[in-house]
């Protein structure tokens, strides 16, 4: 009896809230900032060529075997235009098999593959779901245009040069060896522990946690 009236009241409260319906084709959905659809490949505008060297790391780590890559000698390197000795020959991504786990992105050594937000990558025929290198690079350029990815500010060699030249001051306060780093971490942990013990003692729980 009372529950009936309560449920009626609940319904009215719900009616006052905005609808949760996503009117998808007419209204673009708002995706979460880190939404992950299938991966795409990035494009190095400076050379220009893909970042991908075809090193096969993504193909090996992929849990569903949806990536098929091959490496080749980079013709631009022979001409002296590019610092990449090897470059990707072909790159096939079977989106039907992809589970959007992002492992390929995690393991890529060259920042060459990123997760896109192409949630509507559906096709009318199943073979069309295998995206080739060109399609993936195009999609990567779109992602860059959307601001979901930006190229690294400097290449590794340039960063190394900068560190050797002007960055010595910053390198000075970093501990020299790995043993030093471990010692510093231990010291910091001990400090934290002491601080926490002091807090507990202040709250009157010191004897319980002393052991």
């Amino acid at each position: 009896m009372l529950g009936t009236f309560k449920s009626l009241l609940t319904t009215v409260k719900l009616a006052l809230k905005p609808p949760v319906t996503a009117e998808y084709p007419s209204v673009e959905p708002t995706l979460a900032p880190r939404f992950m659809a299938h991966p795409v490949l990035t494009w190095d505008k400076d050379v220009p060529e893909p970042y991908c060297t075809g090193c096969l790391v993504c193909m090996r780590i992929c849990p569903t075997d949806c990536i098929d890559v091959a490496m080749m000698d980079n013709p631009k390197h022979a001409e002296g235009d590019s610092s990449r000795r090897k470059i990707v020959d072909y790159f096939d991504l079977n989106v039907a098999d992809c589970i959007m786990c992002g492992l390929c992105v995690e393991y890529c050594n060259f920042d060459a593959i990123i997760m896109s937000d192409n949630f509507d990558a559906s096709q009318y025929a199943r073979p069309n779901l295998v995206f080739d290198l060109e399609q993936l690079l195009e999609a990567g350029k779109e992602q860059e245009a959307k601001g979901r990815w930006s190229p690294p500010e400097a290449k590794k060699s340039q960063r190394r040069a900068a560190a050797q030249g002007g960055g010595t001051a910053a390198a000075a306060d970093a501990p020299a060896s790995s043993e030093d780093r471990v010692a510093a971490a231990r010291a910091k942990a001990a400090e934290l522990r002491a601080q926490r013990a002091a807090e507990r003692a202040a709250q009157g729980e010191g004897d319980k946690d002393a052991e």
Partner: protein, 374 residues
Amino acid sequence: MSLLDLITIAIVVFVLFNGILTAVLGVIYAERKALARLQQRVGPSRTGPFGLLQTAADAIKLMLKEDVRPGSVNLVIFYVAPLLIFTPIFMLWMVLPFGPDWVLSDLDIGLLYIIAILGLSVVGHVLAGWASNNKYALLGSARNAAQLISYELPLVFAVLAVGLLAQTATDRPFSLSGIVEAQGSVPYLLIMPLGFILFIVGALAETARIPFDIPHAEEEIVGGAFVEYSGIRWGVFFLTEYAGLATMAFLATILFLGGWSGPFSDEYTFLQPFYLFVKIAAIILIVFWIRAPLPRLRIDQLMAFAWKIAIPASLVNLLLVATVVWVQHQNGWEPWLTSVTISAVSIVLAVATGIYIQRRREQRLRQFRQRWAQ
């Protein structure tokens, strides 16, 4: 009866019939929209502006659909049943007054006519269930018959109480327009809240709306009496349901909400249809609102509510009205005293009954938990 009369009647009936069909389209659209908002959805929004043409599109689809008929049905009854269901609902509109003089036939016994015709549509349901040669259809029609018989009693008692009360103010207490005139500026909703609630509950059961949609029960008996129907015949069943809802809302407006009367309705007669429409729409919206949160009752709960609560309550309501009207006759009370007495006593009774039901439920719940705790 001259030829002109016949032509006039034909035109009026044609207009009324198509009016009902259009009203049903509107009611279905309103239900889908209102229900959607109550459930945080948007409802139909693609066909036409705001999805306004959705129900029209559905109706066209139903008409164009193939009329599939199982081989084992009883042919004549199968085809006659939808008409038998729809005709009584249409017949009710013959006596429903849209205004002081806007009525096809202002019967002096309009109330009795309505009570008599209301029970007819169950015949169509039973015939449809029987002729379909389908166990689910038969179960649905049997449930429908049981439900209609159980809930006709509180409904009729509530309506009778209205007639009794109207007798104090008009000499045509069983005519629908007479009842509206008798209510004047104080609708019977304020005088007989108990009767109004009983009428709405009875109307929900009569039209098999949630929470009384046991005869349809899609999850158990896949739609009830019209499982085997398709296309336009199924559409007639659907149409009848919503026409029944509109009719019941119309009746509730006439009997309990003062019909077309409202502020300044006597001076400005153009306001009368407006008031009527607003009141009917309000009642229909309340029915949608009741539909949104409530689940379907079990058949034993339905019967228990009818025989343990609704019928005793409606009898008490009838007795109360009869007693007070009699006392008024004997002692020459003022009409307002009658109204206040009935209103106060029925509110007290309704609250007491509600508290009693709640206590009983809590008690049973405690017993149940104790039994399972051991």
